[in-house]
Subunit: 401 residues, 2 copies
């Protein structure tokens, strides 16, 4: 019999030995107490999920072509075509066969990392970056060069240059140009050009991770990096935030010569993405359900973001800075010197409000930072939660001082 | 602009350079001509998919708990409980928290390989093995030790001993005890005990890959290896063959100490498996829809298998041997000396019938072997297709001689 916690009677891989559960998962578990106002997770608003439209699309697909939908099969061309049309909204001219369907954006990150990186390859990441990016690109022996990012959203051009000038030369840079997780900001046109230019000078690939750009509050969509450098950019899109996470459906846009390789890598991970989900998503998009749904999302998230910014203005300790996103789901907060968001988390949770300490997204100490999610709380909850947070932070710092 | 086939302006990983599209995928593409009778793919019978029951279960889930079903979330406990009950049918006493949900069995193979194998680890595989197993466990620098398998289904005990006696010592053996793909046979009770005994003597992990055992023609279910050695076996089950491939839903049973590590590895690959699919599968199982569906599958596949065996008896060249499966989806054919199933494929496809040459499942020449799938053709098609195949093989060998 195996006792819980006992070592198995066989050898694990070096990777398995080195594995640690990500700090963010632990923190989110802590914050999942009933009754708490949570700004911690990265959850879309469930009350806005297009449940009825998804159900209707599922019914139509299963009634019309249930047998084909439940079988193994190639990527579903009508979905690829609809995604190509979405990419045209972002300035990218893409053929359906350049749309590579993946089982969620995390799978896109995984296959991109395996396509581009050897175990010891150098990669350029943001200093504060979504943990899934770090898991995919920043394994144990990887050389991770970091470029500072923070609440202003301005690219650290010197840091970028230094990251690329170091030897061995980085092969890959991962960027989130729009409504960055965790910092909430977007790159300016100039900064976008700079990323492409520096990567081009160093023959590096650019991974454009884009879960959020369609959640632009005013509905204006940025031009995707892949539109300007299709030969160099591997673009990763996702339906998790703009439709629903449980679809586990995303896509990549990549140069044709690498798509054949991505296909073999993906095969080894999960054979193929559900043809049923692909067909239902195709039906959902073809029915025109996405655009009105995005309209609702944009209005609701804009309102929640504005409420959070107003509450931060009112309740945060003097000297606190935060990003002012034009879209997405997150605000990044940088407190004055002396604050410790990791230490303040427990009293905050006791008081009834949760967030993610910035440390969870960083490879080195970042005591003054935190990520706040505004998509998964009502305007009222945001008002109350930020007030509680302000009180805890002010009090906690006074105690610590 | 990127020209098709041009090299991208960035460096690919060593893995990406070494990637070749699997021979089987190419072959299956060749054989996908309209009008052909195909024994090539590994497709379940689409006319037997439980489309109505799946649609009804989806409707109930989305109506009852659409918001929760479309959100991110932990593994769905009622599904884990239903799977634990399924495992009890196989003699395994399993708690729900030992059921690790994966996005199809291929993902199970991938995460198991990452849990157990370093890039240069030795592994014991069957000589003829499903390509997905080889992709997951047999990377470029892996030391693959092979144990012969073939139409009789008897384990090559000497080969097994030799594979484990070689140095460095293998860490892992992958076995498909029931209705093996491609060879169609099952291990005897003695052979099962021998595998566990030899693996135990060498502190090796046993990966039990089990997509087919519930498709036992007479409905009698074998005892799973994991029932007898829960501390040593990582079991991988799948709904692809017993419900439908497009669910992309499978499960693992593993010792508790390794499940925490599997969870982190899985997170890096696709975050989590669709909560919507998990809930619909849970609903489908709870409604009792699986057992009558399995009854239909067993009757239909038994009939098709019997038809194929009878046709092989009538039409194959003298001296041909084949496996006589008691379940699953495949028959393995070993032709007499002088046959070349790779060379005969094109004339066979011309004549209107397709199969997979055994070579596709092997690391070294296997000219006399082929895999025939019987689940995706009617009894009539099987009669006609095997007759055509017999004619081509007889004629082709005469020409070559």
């Amino acid at each position: 019999m195996t006792e819980p916690g006992a070592s198995p009677p066989f050898t694990l891989s070096r990777e398995a030995h080195s594995i640690r559960r990500s700090m963010m998962r632990d923190l989110i578990a802590i914050t999942a107490r009933p009754g708490i106002i949570s700004f911690a997770g990265g959850l879309p608003a469930p009350e806005l999920f297009p449940v009825d439209a998804w159900q209707a699309a599922t019914d139509r697909v299963l009634t019309r072509e249930g047998r084909a939908a439940m079988q193994y099969g190639p990527p579903y061309l009508p979905l690829q075509e609809s995604i190509a049309a979405l990419m045209a909204q972002r300035g990218a001219s893409v053929e359906a066969d350049q749309v590579f369907i993946v089982t969620g954006a995390q799978q896109g990150l995984h296959v991109a990392a395996r396509l581009l990186m050897d175990p010891d390859s150098p990669v350029v990441l943001d200093r504060f970056v979504f943990t899934g990016v770090r898991q995919a690109f920043g394994g144990e022996s990887r050389l991770v060069r970091e470029v500072d990012n923070g609440p202003t959203g301005t690219l650290d051009g010197d840091g970028l240059g230094a990251a690329f000038d170091a030897r061995p030369s980085p092969r890959v840079i991962v960027v989130v140009p729009d409504f960055h997780n965790p910092v909430g900001t977007s790159l300016s046109q100039n900064d976008r050009r700079l990323v492409l230019q520096v990567a081009g000078q160093h023959d590096a690939a650019v991974v454009e991770d884009d879960p959020y750009s369609w959640i632009s509050f005013d509905g204006r969509l940025s031009r995707a990096l892949v539109a300007d450098a299709p030969e160099r950019v591997l673009y990763i899109g996702s339906f998790s935030k703009i439709v629903a996470p449980a679809l586990r459906l995303g896509w990549m846009i990549a140069p044709r010569p690498v798509i054949a390789k991505l296909r073999v890598i993906k095969e080894s991970v999960d054979l193929e993405t559900s043809g049923l989900t692909q067909r239902v998503a195709g039906e959902f998009l073809a029915s025109g359900a996405l655009e009105p749904h995005l309209g609702k999302l944009r209005r609701a998230y804009a309102e929640r973001c504005a409420a959070m910014c107003a509450a931060l203005e009112r309740w945060m300790p003097a000297g606190t800075r935060w990003s002012r996103p034009d879209g997405g789901m997150f605000i990044w907060v940088e407190l004055p010197d002396g604050h410790d968001t990791l230490a303040a988390l427990e009293p905050a949770v006791e008081a009834g409000v949760a967030y993610v300490p910035g440390q969870a997204f960083a490879s080195r100490p970042a005591a003054r930072t935190m990520r706040l999610n505004f998509s998964n709380a009502t305007v009222d909850q945001i008002g109350v939660g930020v007030a509680l947070l302000g009180e805890v932070l002010t009090h906690h710092t006074r105690l610590a001082a």
